[in-house]
């Protein structure tokens, strides 16, 4: 079940270049949400920009009824969103989509995050930590300044290994290179991936080659967000058949080996 409601902004601040953290009062959504789901956010009251913007649920505090977003300013919508002040309201539609498949409690899992892809994975690691999983997070970004959520992951007792393109923090290179060295992820029950498409495609290939199950969170341009408009089609192979699935309603999380990358 999902809701549409005005949520009060509790806090908003910049956490990295062009990246904002926002806390919203939305108890109904916080209560229902599972990791990997998203909210469809109205960034303007006017008719331009018109559409909502899909943003992952970054964290929730059910006792406090709080939902957090972590987003990068890309264009008009996210720019307007970043300007909201505490006390303002933001209209949310959610929680939407199908989240990550959780493993058995105590499992060993890997989490792979590229750039802003870290956003939904914090909520996931919250849950995994509650389930006493053994978690390794492979965290990549352009440079040290752009590394997101490393502190949060560490606090939740996840092992965090970092890669930056320029080597300003952790391993110098990208997350794929990093994974190719650290082979621990081969022994996991599940690898969860979120990041830029080319990176997810390469991680999916890595997982497939090692025959390790994984899940990726896909991004497609969305209209409705609720499965009605078929804008967000992604090609999914299942039992030898390729069909269109809706990123918003059938995903955004899909098994890494089923995605037909183009």
């Amino acid at each position: 079940m999902s809701k549409v409601l005005d949520a009060k902004v509790l806090a908003v601040y910049q956490v990295a270049p062009e990246t904002y953290y926002m806390e919203l009062e939305a108890p109904e959504i916080a209560r229902l949400a599972v990791p990997g789901q998203f909210v469809h956010v109205r960034c303007s009251d006017a008719q331009d920009p018109l559409l909502r913007r899909p943003l992952s649920i970054h964290m929730v505090s059910r006792p406090k009824g709080v939902l957090a977003l972590l987003f990068r300013v890309i264009g008009q919508g996210t720019e307007l969103l970043a300007k909201r002040q505490p006390g303002d309201t933001v209209n949310l539609l959610g929680p939407l989509g199908k989240g990550f498949t959780l493993p058995l409690p105590g499992s060993r899992v890997a989490v792979v995050a590229g750039g802003i892809g870290a956003a939904p994975l914090v909520f996931l690691v919250q849950e995994l930590a509650n389930m006493k999983c053994q978690i390794t997070v492979y965290l990549g970004a352009k440079d040290k300044k752009s590394i997101l959520c490393d502190g949060q992951f560490t606090q939740m007792d996840a092992e965090v290994v970092i890669a930056t393109d320029d080597g300003s923090m952790g391993f110098k290179g990208n997350v794929i290179d990093l994974m190719e060295r650290h082979m621990d992820w081969r022994k996991t029950a599940m690898t969860y991936v979120c990041g830029p498409k080319p990176m997810m495609q390469r991680v999916a290939a890595l997982l497939a080659a090692a025959d390790v199950p994984g899940e990726v969170s896909l991004e497609e341009h969305m209209g409705c967000g609720v499965g009605a408009c078929l804008s967000c089609a992604v090609k999914i192979a299942h039992h030898g058949q390729i069909t269109n699935k809706r990123a918003c309603a059938d995903g955004p999380v899909f098994p890494s080996w089923q995605v037909v990358w183009d």
């Binding site: 079940m1 999902s2 809701k3 549409v4 109205r42 008719q47 331009d48 920009p49 018109l50 559409l51 909502r52 539609l93 497609e220 341009h221 969305m222 209209g223 409705c224 967000g225 609720v226 499965g227 009605a228 408009c229 078929l230 804008s231 967000c232 089609a233 992604v234 269109n244 309603a249």
Partner: protein, 304 residues
């Protein structure tokens, strides 16, 4: 006193003049978490074809100033699937379900109409004639009066359901098409389908949409849609379902005053899932505030 909101589209009785626009409301259940769809006068469901269709390559949607371009490409599970899986659901609904159909040839339209004719749960057919006529080099059926009338006749003969012809705005003289399909036996008209448009990605130097061109909808097109309803109203006697950029009751009232007997809410549902119900409530409020007993008094009232 509660004003009378009831309207008739052919033999289909609507408890109120608000429906949804095909392709923007799925098959209904997608929006049930947000509104009581049975309060609407009707729901109009996704375009259906004879065979299942995969639709167009992605991206299928791009935002434009106050509008969106879409090129879904009629992805749908086909009419047989609709009859088997959705019709039983439609039947239980305490509102009308309008099924939107699309074909490549006149025969396909006729077949679709015949197949859907005796299916319980379906209140009316809306015929999308903005599709390319495969036998005529891909020109849309809706782009000339003759082929528009042909489709209308074929559907008319194949069904006893009310036939609503959905007009394309991408024509020189929409009233001429309206008049031709009225003559050919249409019970009502939907005005308008999307405007043909496109967007270019200046970084990639390529069209944004996988299908190059797409259909423009949303508030941006409202002035064109109101004008089309106005022109069509002056030419035909059959009722019009007005649509194109309706975001709220004020927008819907523009269409009614221009000559629409009913209105459809499309793109607005993406922005506000409760848009259709809010349009209905707002129309009712307007009638009460202005002491109007019957919505029909407003239909075309701006023509003076």
């Amino acid at each position: 006193m509660k004003p009378n909101l009831q309207v008739e589209i052919g033999t289909m009785l609507m408890a109120n003049p608000v429906t949804t626009a095909s392709g923007t409301f799925g098959f209904g259940p997608e929006y049930t978490p947000y509104l009581d769809i049975e309060r609407l006068g009707a729901i109009t469901v996704k375009g259906t074809t004879l065979e299942p269709r995969e639709g167009n390559p992605t991206p299928r949607l791009v935002e434009t100033p106050s509008g969106i371009l879409n090129s879904i490409g009629l992805q749908n599970p086909g009419v047989d699937y609709l009859i088997e899986h959705y019709a039983p659901y439609f039947r239980q609904l305490k509102t009308n379900v309008i099924v939107n159909i699309a074909g490549n040839t006149v025969e396909e339209y006729a077949n679709l109409a015949a197949k859907l004719n005796s299916v319980p749960g379906i209140a009316a057919l809306e015929v999308n004639i903005s599709c390319p006529n495969v036998k005529k080099g891909g020109l849309a059926f809706g782009s000339d009066p003759v082929s528009a009338a042909e489709v209308t006749k074929a559907v008319r003969q194949a069904t006893t359901l009310p036939v609503i012809i959905k007009l394309s705005p991408n024509v020189t003289d929409i009233a001429a098409i309206a008049s031709a399909v009225e003559e050919a036996g249409a019970d009502a008209l939907s005005v308008i389908n999307t405007l043909l448009g496109m967007a270019i990605d200046i970084r990639k130097r390529k069209p944004v949409l996988g299908n190059i061109m797409g259909g423009l909808s949303g508030p941006a097109v409202k002035p064109v849609a109101v004008r089309a309803v106005w022109q069509v109203y002056q030419r035909v006697k059959i009722p019009i379902i007005g649509m194109g950029g309706i975001m709220n009751a004020a927008d819907a009232l523009e269409f009614i005053l221009a000559g629409a007997t009913a209105v459809a809410v499309g793109t607005a549902s993406f922005i506000n899932p409760r848009a259709a119900i809010e349009v209905l409530e707002g129309i009712e409020r307007y009638l009460v505030e202005n002491n109007i007993d019957d919505i029909k008094e407003l239909v075309g009232a701006a023509h003076g």
